[in-house]
Amino acid sequence: MENTSGLSGAALPASYFSTATSSFIDFLKTQAPELLPSPERAARLPVSGLEVPHGTTIVAVTFDGGVLIAGDRRATTGNLIANRDMDKVHVTDEYSAVGIAGTAGLALDMVRLYAVELGHYEKLEGVPLSLDGKTNKLAAMVKANLDAAMAGLAVVPLFVGYDTEAADSRRGGRIVSYDVAGGRYEEFGGYHAIGSGSMFAKSALKKLYDPDAGAEGAIRAAVEALYDAADDDTATGGPDLARRIFPTVVTVTAEDGALPLPAEQAEAVAEAVVNARAEAARPR
C-alpha cells in the first residue's frame, strides 16, 4: 500500500489498511492521537483546585436472569450543582453498560470511546469481545488515565454485563468495579456502588439485595439505594418531582440485551419510593 499515498488527498491513508490491530484505540494512537484522552498534558498541570463538574453515585445490582445499573442525575462543581439531569449510565454494546463517577468531562469521553472500541472490534472481527475481554479493555483505559487522576481528574467506571457464555443463564449478570489505577475487581456479592454516595447506597443494598428477585425487584432496590445516597450525600441528586428528573436505569438480560428503562417506568418506580418514604416518615 506504500505508493497509494501521494496522489489523491481523498484516498484512505495507508495506515487504514493495516492489519496489525483490531483495536480502535490503537488505531487512533497512530492516526488521530488528538482524539484520545491525553493524560500527559494533564500530568504537566500543577495539582490545583481546578473546579470541574463531578458525577456521583452509581449502583449496580444483579438479579435473576440479568443485571442492572442505575445512577442519579446530578453533577457538582464544589458545593454547586453543575448539572441536574446528566446521564451517567451508558449502554456500551449489546450486552454491557457502564456507569461513571468522577470528572464528568473525561468520564463521558472515556465511555464514548469505549463504546466505539467495542463496536469497532465486533465489526472487524465478526464476533464481539468476551465479557472478560471487555472488562480488561476498560481497565486499560482507566489505567491510561492515571496521570490525569494524579492531577486530580480521576475517573472511575462501574461495568455491568451479561455473560452470554455463562453456565447458568439465570446468573449471567456480572458486575466489575475499578480503582483509579486501573485495578479490576469482579463483584461476586451481587451488588456494588461507586461515587460519593456509594457508602450509603451500598449500606442500603446490603439490606435490600435479594439474589432471587426479578428485574422489577432489583430496580426498586436500586432506586431505594439511590434515594438513601441522596438523603445523606449532598452531591447525589434524589428523584426531583418538581422537574420530573428521575434516576437512569439500564437493565442487561439475555433476551433483550442492554436496555435503558423507559422514562415512564423509572418515574413510576421513583414516585413509589418517594411515597413510601413519605408514608414511613409520617408521625403516628
Binding site: T4, S8, L12, L28, A32, R112, L113, V116, L124, G126
Partner: protein, 265 residues
C-alpha cells in the same frame, strides 16, 4: 541495467482492467437491492466465516466480490474511516457518500499506481428515514463510482443476473419477496445450462447463501445477518415444498431464531 520494454499508458491500463475483470468474473455473485424496509444483500458464498457482506456503521452496509484479502482490506479501512468520523463529529455525520468517495479515490490510485489493481467490486449501501433516501453506491476496480436507484449486481454472471432482476424487480417489495427474486436471479445462470459447470459444484447442490439486511426498523445498528432458521424462513421453499414438516417445526424455528439473534449481536 536492462531497460523495461516500453508500453503505452493506454495499453498498461487496458491490461490491468483485463486482469481485474477476469479476476472478478471468476467469483460468485452478490446482489444488493432496495426493499420496503431498507436494503437487502444476498451473496453466493460457500464459506460461513469469510463474509462478503458486512456492517460498516449504524446505517451503512458493505458488500463485495472478487479477491477476499483485497476487499477485506477495504472493509477494514472503511470501518476505521466511519468510526473515526463518528468519534470526531457525531454518529449522524457518517455517510455512505463520503465513504464511497474515499473508496473510489483509494481504488483509483491503486489502479493507476500499483503493478496489480485490486480485483474487487464493492457496493456501499446506506439506509435513510424512508425508502427514497436509501442509497446504493457501486465501486469498481478502477475507482469508478456510480449510484444505483434500484439494485446492484456484482461478480461472475452479473449481466445475466441483472437482466433477470430487471424483469422481476419492483420498488417496495417485502423482505420475503425481495429474497425470492434475488435468489432466483442469482441462481438463474447456473440453471440455464453452461453456468452450472462454471460454478464448479454441479447442479445438484445450490451454493450456500449469505443474506443480510439493513433494516430501518431496527433501533441503532440497522445491519443484521439472516442466518440459520431465520434464513430458512425467508428463503423460497424448494419445489417439493413440505408444508406439513414446516408447520411441525415452526415453534422450534422461532426459538432458534431468537437464540441466533442474541448470540450474534
Amino acid at each position: 541495467m536492462t531497460m523495461p520494454l516500453y508500453a503505452s499508458p493506454e495499453q498498461v491500463l487496458r491490461e490491468r482492467s483485463e486482469l481485474a475483470r477476469k479476476g472478478i468474473a471468476r467469483g460468485r455473485s452478490v446482489a444488493v437491492l432496495k426493499y420496503a424496509d431498507g436494503v437487502l444483500f444476498v451473496a453466493e458464498n460457500p464459506s460461513t466465516t469469510l463474509h462478503k457482506l458486512s456492517e460498516i456503521y449504524d446505517r451503512i452496509g458493505f458488500a463485495a466480490v472478487g479477491r477476499y484479502s483485497e476487499f477485506e482490506n477495504l472493509r477494514v479501512a472503511g470501518i476505521r474511516h466511519a468510526d473515526l468520523k463518528g468519534l470526531q463529529f457525531d454518529r449522524r455525520d457518517v455517510s455512505a457518500r463520503a465513504l464511497a468517495n474515499a473508496y473510489a479515490a483509494s481504488l483509483g490510485s491503486i489502479f493507476t499506481e500499483q503493478l496489480k489493481p485490486f480485483e474487487v467490486e464493492v457496493c456501499v449501501a446506506e439506509i435513510g428515514a424512508t425508502s427514497e433516501e436509501d442509497q446504493l453506491f457501486r465501486l469498481t476496480y478502477d475507482g469508478s463510482i456510480g449510484d444505483e436507484p434500484r439494485f446492484v449486481v456484482m461478480g461472475g454472471h452479473a449481466d445475466t443476473i441483472t437482466t433477470k432482476l430487471k424483469e422481476s424487480y419492483e420498488p417496495g417489495l417485502a423482505l420475503v419477496d425481495a429474497v425470492k427474486i434475488a435468489v432466483d436471479a442469482l441462481r438463474s445462470p447456473t440453471t440455464t445450462g453452461s453456468g452450472s459447470a462454471a460454478n464448479g459444484n454441479g447442479d445438484s447442490e445450490p451454493v450456500k447463501l449469505e443474506v443480510a439486511v439493513l433494516d430501518r426498523n431496527r433501533p441503532r445498528r440497522a445491519f443484521k445477518r439472516i442466518e440459520g432458521a431465520a434464513l430458512e424462513a425467508v428463503l423460497p421453499a424448494p419445489d417439493k415444498g413440505d408444508a406439513a414438516k414446516d408447520d411441525a417445526e415452526a415453534g422450534k424455528t422461532e426459538d432458534e431464531q431468537k437464540d441466533g439473534d442474541s448470540a450474534k449481536e
